[in-house]
């Protein structure tokens, strides 16, 4: 089994005095694709925000690549090789596609490495190379999501956290985004994905967690959870 890349252990966190997560544990190993599913309000996004440092954990710890990153700020966590793609396909609308990608590499000083990252992103998302000079705000929703992911890849991350990448996209683009995730996994990226689209998220995942009301409810391989009668009844609408 490959080594653990990130482990969040016993996380309790929330906004103000209201706790959202209760003792949540999530783990991802090198090369894995892990999905986190669950209904609205399950704490999926909060779990990601806590791991990256936007929300402070009141207890528990986060270990990334052997280092304890609990309580660090996002600007301290993200340069360590963790990339975070927030919900809502957020791009810099007035900048071109190329400028958006270059911004993604803003911590990188080596021009050759930036070009290399660009090549990899264009290989993964050929449509972005065709739209290079176009303003990001004029792309379609699915293309903007690809750009948001591509921008996160520009820093050579070891782990990519994606929050609801298929949210609000047309069915055609939802499928395209999941194909993309599978493609990224084949290309060797380690991924952790929060998704509402449970069936598709389980189908592409090596392993998955089901959260409910801020607690771990089920976990297992994607295939096992997909076949589990309880998961099926509760989350897959069947």
């Amino acid at each position: 089994m490959t080594p653990t890349l990130l482990r969040a252990e016993g996380l309790t966190a929330g906004y103000g005095k209201m706790p959202i997560l209760h003792d949540v544990t999530l783990e991802v190993r090198v090369g894995e694709m892990v999905s986190v599913i669950g209904p609205n309000g399950a704490g999926k996004s909060t779990a990601f925000k806590t791991m990256v440092g936007f929300v402070h954990a009141t207890s528990g710890r986060v270990v990334f690549d052997g280092q304890d990153i609990t309580g660090l700020r996002p600007d301290q966590v993200l340069p360590r090789g963790l990339a975070y793609v927030p919900q809502g396909r957020i791009v810099f609308p007035e900048m071109t596609v190329l400028e958006n990608l270059e911004m993604g590499a803003y911590i990188e000083r080596d021009g050759a490495r930036i070009r290399e990252s660009l090549e990899r992103v264009y290989a993964l998302f050929p449509v972005l190379s065709q739209r290079m000079g176009q303003k990001a705000g004029t792309l379609s929703g699915g293309e903007q999501q690809m750009l948001a992911i591509g921008r996160a890849l520009m820093t050579h991350p070891e782990l990519i956290l994606l929050d609801e990448p298929s949210l609000g996209l047309s069915p055609k683009f939802v499928s395209l985004i999941f194909d993309t995730l599978a493609e990224m996994k084949r290309a060797g990226y380690t991924l952790m994905v929060v998704e509402q689209n449970a069936a598709k998220a389980l189908a592409v995942a090596d392993r998955a967690y089901v959260l409910e009301l801020g607690r771990n409810r089920f976990e297992g391989t994607g295939a096992a959870l997909l076949a589990d009668p309880d998961v099926k009844r509760l989350y897959l609408g069947g």
Binding site: P74, G88, I90, F92, Y106
Partner: protein, 306 residues
């Protein structure tokens, strides 16, 4: 364009530096005011044009500088240049006090807080009569220093513009622009947006602080209504918007065009001038939100560093 720009600028600077030797008293004071507007519009651009955090109370820094310098010169007998620099420092301190809490928040809170700040300062200054002279104002000892003030104003305008150039072409500037474009995305990339917004804000306060002190020295008399007027904030915003916010030369262009226009129209039609200002705001917002330079950049595909 990039080739003749530096040479043209150099010639212009030399001409401006030589001007006081030949210019009339009126001409020198007019130019000095133009420099003041360039410094103000350009400073506003640093925070609002680059990060998108609109300051509706930038004149507060101007007033802070004016009163700091006024009190230091009037009651403590400081040399005016030093007092004006102290005005810049105090404006920065004020920016820190207001920016520290307000810039932690995203969105329009900052704009509203800045609007309030200016009103609050004006009341405070009116209230503490012992120090500020209150509503009676503060008179400074007579001094004929138009020429040195001309150079000082010019230097501030030049410095703020040079600073803008340095910022826009740096990584710091890129970070500021990502905040303007989308702050959530900037944070998701690991940019500590609060810190960079605060830096930009502090830098944007220095120029108005110094310029406020210089204006106080130039006029020899200040009162709350003359150094905290909302119209000053509006004028610097309009100049920056008209010329092109977020660009290096836009605020300079806007200040030159509108100030010239104002000088020509002001003398004859006092009310018409305000009406026209309003009309310009509406026209710019509706028809060319990027300002003159923004439109030119787009049309002729000019680099961002113009």
């Amino acid at each position: 364009m990039a080739r003749w720009l530096p040479a043209g600028l150099l010639v212009l600077l030399v001409l401006l530096a030589l001007y006081p030797m030949h210019g009339t008293g009126y001409g020198i004071r007019t130019m000095l005011q133009l420099f003041m507007w360039i410094a103000l519009a350009q400073s506003w651009n640093l925070i609002s044009g680059l990060t998108g955090y609109v300051s509706f109370g930038h004149v507060a820094f101007f007033g802070m500088g004016a009163y700091t310098a006024g009190i230091l010169i009037g009651t403590l007998g400081w040399p005016w240049l030093l007092a004006c620099l102290a005005g810049g420092v105090m404006a920065m301190v004020l920016a820190l006090v207001i920016g520290w809490p307000c810039l932690r928040l995203k969105g329009p809170y900052f704009a509203i807080a800045m609007l309030g700040l200016n009103e609050v300062l004006r009341v405070i200054v009116s209230y503490y009569e012992g120090l500020t002279g209150g509503g009676n104002g503060l008179s400074l000892p007579t001094l004929h220093a138009s020429v040195p003030i001309y150079y000082a104003m010019g230097l501030v305008a030049l410095s703020v513009t040079a600073l803008t150039y340095v910022i826009v072409t740096s990584r710091f500037g890129l970070r500021l622009m990502t905040i303007r474009e989308d702050e959530v995305a900037a944070e998701a990339m690991g940019i500590d947006t609060f810190r960079y917004k605060l830096y930009a804000f502090l830098l944007s306060a220095v120029g108005p602080g110094i310029v406020g002190g210089l204006a106080a020295r130039d006029q020899g008399y200040i009162e709350p209504t003359s150094v905290f007027p909302l119209i000053t904030t509006i004028t610097m915003i309009v100049m920056a918007l008209f010329g092109g916010k977020g660009t290096i030369w836009g605020p300079v262009l806007g200040a030159v065009l509108l100030f010239t226009f104002q000088e020509l129209v002001w003398a004859r039609f006092i009310y018409l001038h305000q009406l026209l200002f309003g009309a310009i705001i509406i026209t710019v917002v509706l028809l060319m939100p990027r300002g003159i330079l923004g439109v030119l950049q787009q049309k002729y595909n000019l680099p961002r560093t113009i």
